[in-house]
Subunit: 489 residues, 2 copies
């Protein structure tokens, strides 16, 4: 089998480059939020910056996001709303949320400099109104700019870090604030003189025999161009949810959860593969974000989830992505949300949810769902008895969400895998230092190569611990660091 | 940071090799079972074979195994014991056992040629008495050579493949048949003329600019020797359970389960890193085998396991490694095995198990363990009521193991993570074709490079589906294929 002339999986030898078609200091692959923030900082440092974006316009998958930045530590907005937060609590939350294999140095710098990063975003033109929206929202439906958007107030997170809302969201009416965030950051990068090429596909890196990266080959207008990056190449090209082969190889469980990828269509893993072509290590490749947002209405959080054993398996007030990960792991992927007349509703994000059973008693629901005799009845009896006392001795759901489910008629919404797609994107990627420097398998820096955003494995690296805004926060913050590091080399 | 002169993470340039110190056709790294079987086949094909083993003697971690080969399809031993098995059932079992991301071509060839492989092992001198030992055993304590050693008879496996015992074990008295298996295979490889070097550490591969592998650098007697492998290098160097950095990076959950690695001490991941240095892809790196064997005595399988919610979470008659994986994932790692006077015993493999509670009623045990009020009592009532009918509607434990736990006194053995170490080894590794050819990120063959055994990701690649003998079976079978493929290049 002959390899194609240019493939992300094989670096082109520096020694064979006859002439450079394009010369720059910092070459950035991808004009999503990591690329935009890297460009802004690299320009601020005086470097010539060229951005290669495979799509016809900038924005990437970041522009499809909610525009939330998961940042805490005691912002003005948090304080104005009456919440105390600290760098220590923020750090502790992030550490638990990163799961086994948390990257502590990365978490530390993100926690310590998070508030300054919010200020910086504002300076770039991202508006934050500074107002808090109470309740539980996946994204603010108003133009408020602080919400609860993780598992802060839920067990076991509340036991390690004082709860506070940390979802700092760009001011925009309604959902999808990410488009506005990107509009501002793109404008800023361009105003500062970053030079973009659109419909420009990065084909492979250019590296010398010693393994140092000198540039990349980019296809522009159908022609392969040799691009010299005197300071470095920053891979800000996103994750790999669009690459079926990589998903199958690295995150095969994605295919089992009825996936509905969140992506602008170019999260093809090519940046990760380019990194690997020069010996870069990858980590947490099996991890992915998955969710099936139930609220609004909030009353659904007062319902309970049971598996095919008729057992509860999670505190239902945890972050929706955590709840989803647990649900997706139950045997045969069979899970139902149980509601009474006082809590019944259809998830706004999935109004076509299947109503799997309706009945005048929980015994009827149990029978209709075909659950083991007596199990659901016991689960409901125990839950209701405890909820009436304001406690959940099994999973420590918080009192705010505890309400006996005793008002007939009762209903079961299907959360079985085939019936409710899971929104997904990948969390694994290249191993980097907080500076963005890409590391090889021995932990050595690969000279001239940087990565940020979902091409790198960042602060969020555990589906069970994800919170909204972690990826945008990480990608913007570490995009900046990469943009500072490369010119300083 | 300057890279050391030779590191597994960077291939040495072919162009800079001034002279070859050692020349051979097939260079094999590691003299465990994959290396031994590769050597036998490569010699049979007429190739000059040189084996580099880092330890002072051959055997590797394979020699510490039980000497079981997970192979089915209708062997003479299976038939003599009255079991029907088929290639189709064997294949179906392996496919489910490989989990999401099963490698179907690999499974297919293993299932189809498994019986011939057993014959081949016998021809090499590995004795199989041909007798079946009834019951449930981690390894035969007798010199019988067929046992049940997976989840064949347990839900959900029994629903996809007709159950049959497939643990074909080398004949040896008592446990640890792996030492005898290796003695025979090592002797055979040497008799055929494979040339071994012991205390010989493979430092890095030697590759040309195009990425083809030509040999490796090996340290022998303190000196780096340039080894030319005209046909190819076979990495048979084992997994990475001894490499803390790699475990932290790739399989961080290992560190959370109180790990007790099974290894002869050289599963340092260096083969995997050498593969990566020439662009090889890796897969399933987060997966690991883990177990805490409860039986014998078999009566413990009749006990039940509950988590800190007082809920059961698995059919306790599944393979001990599957049961352990589920136990290790329960909240706070807190799990207990509940037994009555009729079933009580201490696990032979862990007699120092902590008895966490003893009582005259399940309510007493529930209180002593601090479980939510009424949960364990309900779990036991329901389990006992159903067990008396010979059913387990929750987890489908088979009737053979269902016995009401009603004879006081009652006891709870602690299976909490800190109190009971989990025996572990890694399952992830290099991506290979069934031939052993190592593939890069684009799915192209890396010329001259082969891998087998736990340096490669094999048939077993899912902790939840592992069965005893899968790794030895896979390593010996695909070691042979690599040993055939390399000389044919």
């Amino acid at each position: 089998m002959t390899a194609p002339p240019f493939t992300p999986s094989r670096a082109y030898p520096r020694e064979e480059v006859a002439r450079w078609d394009i010369e720059t200091d910092v070459a950035i692959v991808g004009f999503g939020i990591a690329g935009a923030c890297a460009a802004i900082e690299a320009r601020a440092a005086g470097a010539a910056v060229t951005i290669f974006e495979v799509a016809a316009a900038a924005g990437g998958s970041s522009a499809m996001s909610g525009g939330e930045f998961y940042i805490g530590g005691g912002s003005a907005t948090q304080k104005a709303a009456g919440f105390e937060d600290s760098v220590e609590d923020f750090r502790a939350y992030l550490t638990m949320a990163a799961g086994p294999g948390a990257d502590q140095p990365r978490i530390d710098i993100y926690a310590e400099q998070g508030l300054a990063h919010l200020d910086w975003l504002a300076e770039q033109g991202v508006p934050f109104k500074g107002t808090y929206l109470p309740g539980r929202w996946p994204e603010p439906p108003t133009d408020d700019t602080l919400i609860w958007c993780g598992s802060e107030a839920a067990w076991p997170f509340r036991d390690v870090a004082r709860p506070a809302p940390r979802g700092h969201t760009a001011q925009a009416f309604g959902r999808g604030g990410g488009a506005m965030v990107m509009e501002r950051l793109i404008a800023r990068a361009l105003a500062l003189g970053a030079e973009p090429h659109f419909s420009a596909r990065a084909l492979c890196l250019i590296a010398d025999r010693a393994g140092a990266v000198h540039g990349l080959v980019v296809r522009i207008d159908g022609t392969a161009r040799m691009v010299r990056a005197r300071s470095g190449v920053i891979l800000a090209s996103g994750g790999f949810i669009c690459n079926d082969d990589m998903v199958r190889q690295y995150a095969p469980r994605v295919s089992t959860v009825n996936p509905y990828p969140i992506t602008a269509g170019n999260d093809d893993g090519s940046g990760i593969r380019m990194g690997q072509s020069v010996g870069a290590a990858v980590t947490h490749m099996e991890q992915f974000f998955a969710t099936r947002t139930t609220f609004p209405p909030e009353s659904l959080i007062k319902g309970i989830l049971v598996n095919e054993q008729g057992q509860r398996f999670i505190n239902e007030d945890a972050y929706h992505g955590r709840v989803a990960q647990y649900a997706l792991r139950q045997s045969n992927g069979r899970v139902w949300m149980l509601l009474d007349d006082a809590t019944f509703g259809r998830p706004e994000s999935f109004p076509q949810v299947t109503i799997a059973a309706v009945g005048e008693s929980w015994a009827e629901i149990e029978a209709e769902l075909g659950l083991p005799v007596g199990e659901l009845v016991h689960t409901m009896d125990a839950y209701n008895r405890n909820a009436a006392q304001g406690t959940d001795p099994l999973f420590h759901k918080q009192p705010e969400w505890l309400q006996p489910l005793t008002k007939a008629p009762f209903a079961a919404l299907s959360a079985c895998i085939p019936e409710w797609p899971a929104v997904v994107f990948t969390l694994g990627g290249l191993v980097t230092r907080p500076t963005g420097e890409v590391l090889d398998g021995a932990g050595s820096v690969i000279p001239g190569l940087y990565a940020a955003g979902r091409a790198a494995c960042g602060v969020p690296r555990w589906g069970d611990g994800y919170s909204s805004g972690m990826s945008l926060g990480d990608a913007s913050f570490f995009g900046r660091l990469a943009g500072k590091s490369a010119p300083a080399r």
